[in-house]
Symmetry: C2
Subunit: 188 residues, 2 copies
Amino acid sequence: MKTIEASVEAVLIADHPETFVTRRIPETRFEFGGIPGDRHFGITRPADSRQPMYPRGTEIFNRRQITVLSAEECMDIAEKLQIDSLLPEWLGANLLLRGVPDLTSLTIGSRLLFPSGAGLVCQGENLPCTLPGKVIQEMHTNRPELTTEFVRAAFKQRGIVCLVECPGQVRQGDLVRILVNDFAKPLQ
Amino acid sequence: MKTIEASVEAVLIADHPETFVTRRIPETRFEFGGIPGDRHFGITRPADSRQPMYPRGTEIFNRRQITVLSAEECMDIAEKLQIDSLLPEWLGANLLLRGVPDLTSLTIGSRLLFPSGAGLVCQGENLPCTLPGKVIQEMHTNRPELTTEFVRAAFKQRGIVCLVECPGQVRQGDLVRILVNDFAKPLQ
């Protein structure tokens, strides 16, 4: 199994009741269900437009507990949008990793392991949506087209969502070991 | 997204305290965590030899809630072992499906949807291990080699494990709609 090493450049939480935008914190604890106090925390959540196979509002298992972005992919998107930088806060990220230039294509079932013993399981690619585009546009008032341009620019670079497999602490500066699920061996 | 239709040929439960072998029941209910009363039921479970990245016994999220087998793959394995039939009971299956000849290679993240509204998410291929081989061997006392032959014969045909995404009833005879995760579109 292929292993990648990455570092935690930022730990973030969405704990403001009115926005998905996150803010940096030095450390936090992953619990079953995500980060307590974060708006995506919960073992279950109501189905929304992302799960059209269930009636809207149905209580379903929450596979979108933790959002992880790649610093390299954020730089790429910023370049495409011709803006100075793309902050992970604007995209609602909980973790910003450096060292995985193609994080978004990480296979489902891959594990992210932290020095504390905590572990996440990748549940796949996140969807670019217009909400972060609006935030980015508000930061660049002379660029009204950024809302929709973001979706195109962030395609396949929007990071991944994960579930917490093993609770534990995560800190800025942590080294993360990523066990890539290569599908060659049966999932364990 | 590719869709496959299959039928539920059997619903089974492992509710005997001393064995993983399952028994047929006409119907049951999927809850968050699996099938209540089944030995694999639980939102969490202790890490074992299948998760060597965590110390044995660590409480981790349970991704092996429901075990699903393909009737066609069971027939294939039986043929390779030169036995009359391979019962899903012996392999500890919770569901036996007909209509998916290559169920074991179903991609992680694929969904199994039931008429009741219940939904499972495929968490990947199950591992052939020697435990079912022992059960099969006990049923064929003149074939001591079956214990180890099973592992080889069942390679890549051992079915999948799933987590319950949406609770609901499942009945023998149900038609199941499988939404294959083709990785072409972002995971929703």
